[in-house]
């Protein structure tokens, strides 16, 4: 006890002064941000997410005088290319102030030095982030964050189905195979290189390799062996019982979701554990929907917001990002009726009133059978695995 208090005291002494400097620097940022317009480039395929962004924009307008313009995009890669082209053309006042990003897009922007920062750890609300409990807030896929992006929400591979048709959800890849055998043509996944398809493939490899830890290191050429093993021992057989006998695949996760709603497929796939519940609330999936993760765990990650190196409204972007990290904004985002995106904060660090806002009543479609989070493999595995998959299954 003594020991711990002592430690805390030392920690405080060590951080108090920089904290004051922090506060001064932050109010300077807030002052600069006033009157700025932040062009927030974010995927806009979901009406509920768009509505949430609009709400957050209104709030920072009221509180900090920062105007947020949601630039609606279909693919974050567009933004990466736009920033790259603008920087190459010497455009200093770029068109992107803040971008919703993670994974491969972040790695590319970081390595090509297209990002402003470090800045994220200097935000006042960053102190609330659960950096210990949620390792992916500091490690975006295999890339260290280094303060170049601010965590926004959590994701974990999750499956869903109509509980009335699927009373015992398959909670492993092996169980999924058995399920497919019993229900031929009613299971599939989006074809890689779709992000969800690639994740399904990684998950399948994880569940079929004795030691998955080495996949956190760059691919040393073993991707071929590993994939071959999973293909011959699992996917070849699964595909025989899949939709269209595994000769055609849906093109996107949204299509799979729609096919589940239609009853053409029995099992859906998502990265937001609360998406099924959100879709039930929106009247797009039946109230009997159930969601689950695999017993041994499923791949999880964090999504972030980042500021391009040539952003015009860097201060405004930081003020907005900091607001997105506030307990209030995170609790609202966590609400299944609003968006249902899990928080990056350590809820236990919050005060009671704030905690109460996170206490969600269980909603129909919520995850009833959770599993642990598995870390993403190193990014270098992705292109290799996608190519191998396409060579084997992509030719029809």
């Amino acid at each position: 006890m003594l020991n711990r208090r002592h430690l805390l005291a030392t920690a405080f002494a060590a951080t108090a002064l920089p904290r004051l400097a922090f506060a001064a620097a932050w109010s300077a940022i807030e002052a600069e941000a006033k009157g700025q317009s932040v062009y927030f480039n974010a995927w806009a395929g979901s009406d509920t997410i768009n509505a949430y962004i609009a709400w957050a924009g209104d709030e920072v307008k009221k509180r900090y005088g920062v105007t947020v313009e949601h630039v609606k995009i279909t693919d974050t890669a567009e933004v990466v290319k736009r920033v790259r082209d603008e920087v190459a053309a010497g455009k200093a006042d770029g068109s992107v102030d803040l971008v919703w990003i993670n994974g491969e897009n972040f790695r590319i922007m970081k390595t090509e030095k297209l990002l402003f920062g470090p800045w994220s750890e200097a935000q006042p609300n960053y102190a609330l982030v659960d950096v210990e409990g949620k390792a992916t807030t500091k490690q975006d896929f295999s890339e260290t964050v280094d303060g170049l992006e601010s965590p926004w929400g959590m994701a974990q591979l999750t499956f869903f189905a109509d509980g009335a048709k699927v009373p015992n959800p398959p909670r492993s890849m092996k169980a999924l195979l058995e399920f497919a055998k019993a229900n031929p043509g009613r299971v599939t996944y989006p074809a890689p290189p779709d992000f969800y398809g690639t994740t399904f493939l990684k998950q399948a490899i994880y569940e079929h390799s004795a030691d998955r830890r080495f996949m956190s290191k760059p691919d040393d050429g073993s991707s071929g062996l590993l994939a071959e093993d999973t293909f011959t021992n699992f996917l070849d057989e699964l595909h025989r019982h899949c939709w269209r006998e595994g000769k055609q695949f849906p093109k996107s996760q949204a299509d799979v979701t729609q096919m589940v709603a239609d009853g053409e497929l029995l099992v859906g796939i998502t990265f937001n554990p609360n998406e099924p519940a959100n879709l039930v609330a929106a009247g797009r999936l039946p109230a009997t929907t159930v969601a689950w993760q695999h017993e041994q765990g499923t791949i999880g990650n964090t999504h972030f917001v980042a500021i391009p190196a040539n952003a015009k409204a860097k201060a405004g972007a930081q003020v907005f990002a900091n607001f997105l990290l506030s307990a209030e904004a995170q609790a609202k985002k966590n609400d299944i009726k609003i968006w249902g995106d899990p928080t990056v904060l350590a809820v236990q660090k919050l005060n009671d009133a704030e905690k109460a806002a996170f206490a969600a009543a269980s909603a129909p479609g919520g995850v009833t059978l959770p599993g642990p989070t598995l870390l993403e493999p190193h990014a270098s595995w992705v292109p290799a695995l996608e190519k191998l998959w396409l060579e084997r299954y992509g030719k029809g």
């Binding site: 062009y39 480039n41 995927w43 806009a44 395929g45 979901s46 009406d47 768009n50 313009e69 630039v71 609606k72 995009i73 279909t74 693919d75 974050t76 890669a77 567009e78 990466v80 290319k81 736009r82 790259r84 082209d85 603008e86 053309a89 455009k91 068109s95 992107v96 491969e104 897009n105 590319i108 043509g185 009613r186 074809a191 290189p193 269209r244 055609q248 695949f249 849906p250 093109k251 996107s252 996760q253 949204a254 299509d255 979701t257 729609q258 096919m259 709603a261 239609d262 009853g263 053409e264 009247g283 797009r284 039946p286 190519k387 396409l390 060579e391 299954y393 992509g394 030719k395 029809g396």
Partner: protein, 551 residues
Amino acid sequence: MVRAALALPLLAVFVVPLLLSVALVLPDTFNAQGMNDVWQHPQFAGAFRLTLLTGLASTTLALFSSLLIVARSSRSLSSRAGGFLAVPHLAFAIGLAFLIMPAGILARIIAQFAGWSAPPAWITTQDPYGLALTVALVLKETPFLVWALASVLNRDDLRQAFAGQRAVAASLGHSRRSVFLQVILPQLLPRVIWPLVAVLAYGMTVIDMALVIGPTQPPTLAQLIWVDINNADPEVNARGAAGVVLLSGVILLVVATVAALLRCASTAISGFWSKGPHQSRLRLTSLRHLPQRGRRREAPDEVSSLWNAFRIIYVLVIATLILQSVSGLWVFPNLLAEHFTLSAWKRLLTDASPVFTSLALAILTATTSLAASVLWLESVPQSKDKGLLWLSAFALCLPALVIGLGQYRLFLALAISGTATAMFFAHILPVAAYVFIMLQGPYRGFDDRFRSAASGLRASRAHFLRQVKWPMLKAALFSAFAVGFAVSMAQFVPAQLAAAGRFSTLPMEAVTLTSGGNRALTAAYGFALMALPLIVFLVAVRMGRSRWRTV
């Protein structure tokens, strides 16, 4: 000198930006590594085969069905085709897919009798041979060709010539079919070469329709390229850019091959065309024509039954879209959704600014293109048209991605990316190309003797244009405007790049919102995309009606 200056507007809004854009994008398409990577792509061979198959099959079938429709219909179809043309490709594909897919309306109707509780294992969409995509393309392109053919048949100068030739051929014993095949067709086909090339190029480069209804393993070449172009990795982008060059080359090659084949077969073809009437057919038709008195013109409202079939399909597709736009959860095999909701329409109407941006751009670009084309046609000798026609066709054959990318670089270099000017130029390029292609034929076909007569009556040039020429050409002018308007309303890729997030148009909003797969929202936006051009088409047809229809 002054007359030559009148050609400048079209050069400024169309030719110069087009050439500069292409020049800016050419260097990175000749990337040896990228070219090599395209060939190495595991799905390349299959995708290439599919693209050739769907492109050629859809163009051939669309040509045949449009000829059948035109040959069997006596009424002017150009005004009726407008409604079909206004339906955006994407909206049509979505509606059609929901009619025929395993969980679609047809399957649901059958399920009522067959007692199915889950969707059947039909392969009606995403079939490995791209048949569904081909059918969708034929259904969408036939009305365009019908319209192009009907515009030729309805040209005031040609109509009289055709009528005369019909009478002569009929008196020589040719049946109606024989007249069409051997007299009209040889004159018709050369005049619709450009629309045909546009149809082929569209069929081989289409992305949105293929994404909805086409196969995925392998996909078509255009889809493969689309995925690569959208990747954040410059190496993958280079592979996509090389793919674009390859695809453009393939289209040119196909056009050249077909042209060469036609030339080789020309003796056989002209032999057939100059042959007299076929005996058996002669007897058949004369029997068929018995009840009609003499060989007078056919019943005024006779329209091919194939055309009626098209109408029915379009009505079903549009009805499906409307139904979808208000449907919530819709479990198989129910014929109606469990609940209805207006949320998609509310979403569309709460932020109407993209609608107004699109409307303003469409009116501005269509008007400018029309004015610039008329100025060109009035001031430049006809011999110079050929180059511009080639350039227009070239602009339409190039995948939107290439032009979009080049324009985007141009705008960045000029520091106008994300401005209203950039949006204007991004929209006007295809609009000007279409308007010029549509207008050139009728405008140059204008009988110059009217002008001689007018000058003889001492009418000034302006007076002649206002009182005689433009009123006589107004059907062509209005329909060129309507096409330009519709093209502008459908602009997506170049607009998205040029806007840099500072502007949002209706198609941009539709594409981003529908990437989440919300069927009601997709349907509502599809319907909205269709409604505005449809209104403009109907108005154009009404205003284009001649006040002094002869015969």
